[in-house]
Symmetry: C2
Subunit: 298 residues, 2 copies
Amino acid sequence: MRPIVECIPNFSEGRRPEVVEAIAEAIRGLEGVRLLDYSADQNHNRSVFTFLGGPQAVLEAAFAACKVATKLIDMTVHKGEHPRMGAADVIPLVPVKDIGIEECVQLSRELGERIASELKIPVFLYEESATRPERKGLPNIRRGQFEGMAAKIKEPEWAPDFGQAEIHPTAGAVAVGARAPLIAYNINLDTPDIEIANKIARLIRERGGGLKNVRAIGVMLEDRRLAQVSINMINYEQTALYRAFEMVKYEARRYGVNIVGSEIIGLTPMKALIDVAEYYLQLEGFEASKQILENHLL
Amino acid sequence: MRPIVECIPNFSEGRRPEVVEAIAEAIRGLEGVRLLDYSADQNHNRSVFTFLGGPQAVLEAAFAACKVATKLIDMTVHKGEHPRMGAADVIPLVPVKDIGIEECVQLSRELGERIASELKIPVFLYEESATRPERKGLPNIRRGQFEGMAAKIKEPEWAPDFGQAEIHPTAGAVAVGARAPLIAYNINLDTPDIEIANKIARLIRERGGGLKNVRAIGVMLEDRRLAQVSINMINYEQTALYRAFEMVKYEARRYGVNIVGSEIIGLTPMKALIDVAEYYLQLEGFEASKQILENHLL
């Protein structure tokens, strides 16, 4: 048993490469942590890092990255298209292996406590770590953004979970929480009509009476002249990828539209694709934990 | 880089549990080796073991198991339905990770040499390790079985690759060799007519003008009253599982027969199922080595 946690923190810096590199270095510098990927977006002025490791190592790395961001990012001069409320904006912790969501909730509390006490940044617990229903969703917490947070945090119902009811003058506030792994999954249609993608997105998502655990919007791929149904699969174990694929396929049919391809953005747990293979091959009695060679190597 | 080899030795004992256990213990006793599975068949009077580990550890474990089998199995009194020529009958070595087939060929030569010199059992190299074309296939080497081997091995063209041209009086001879991973894959039809399964098997296999790297026969599942196309996928990277599945589906159609399900017997590398998911989801630009989380944990 070697528990592994994934951390995907978002920082409010996507234009100064030296700041992004400094955050990457802080993560890389921690033993037992593996930085898998990071990328910066100029329009959003935001960067996302993905790293893995044991629970304590991940906590140390997330804290170290947060500390560097606090030192180098000044939210009073930050501009960007993506909503944000802090230098370290959101720090999700995801159980990957030999660890449950409850332990990640506990880990998020430890991390939040440490950020509040050592860096003097107020912390909101979100998603599975949320202490009240209205704090489950990040958009709700972040509403008002950095600029509105100074006032919002003084309202009793928006008192932070850790730290004083006062934003950090330059680093704002941060959301920390455990969440289930999420798969970013896009399905491309053979039409340039974004309205068709929008209609399909509304039909397939949970909010629209479609699949549970599915969030979807229509997106235009300008360069390919294709409309795309852009999906977040927020619980691929309960709602497998092939179900979104098949539902998009049959909803598209009413418009005489076909799927030209699909894409997984970023990381996916192996099991999400094994489930797809099991479905299409009509596999009987398959036991992934025993029968997949790599499961014996992990 | 941590090279991993799989070894799946077959021993001529499937009726005396204490002998099967003694072989299992010999494998388990070696550090760095993991015994994943073993099973004994009474009718065949034969047992199969699957274990993994680094090259040297696997060599030691295979040798240790072979030594125990040599001590406890007497081929002069062995009876069983499966063809066999030795107490340790065949020892395949399969590259799993960070190791190539060539290195497994070299490993099989080391193992063969040691078995011949220390246990006095003549060794034939087979499959990728074969020193002559007619020794590539095991059935060719094994023809005549234990009872015929005493005479066969004295023919110049059947001189063993290691050891004297003389069988071990009670342990016979053994085949050792490297081979690519193989997937045992069965497809079940909604008919009890074995002849339909036979016809489909003949059409889809390489020998019958079908798919390269596919061996297939028809088999009757008496308990389920279903006919099955029983397949060995001998190179799943070149010929993916979904291609056999789709070919069986369309060949079955001419008989008005459908697939009710399929089965993977034993182990499969993850990639074989990822390829299936990629095909059916029409995935674009998917990079398994980067995008599958578990590939970062191995």
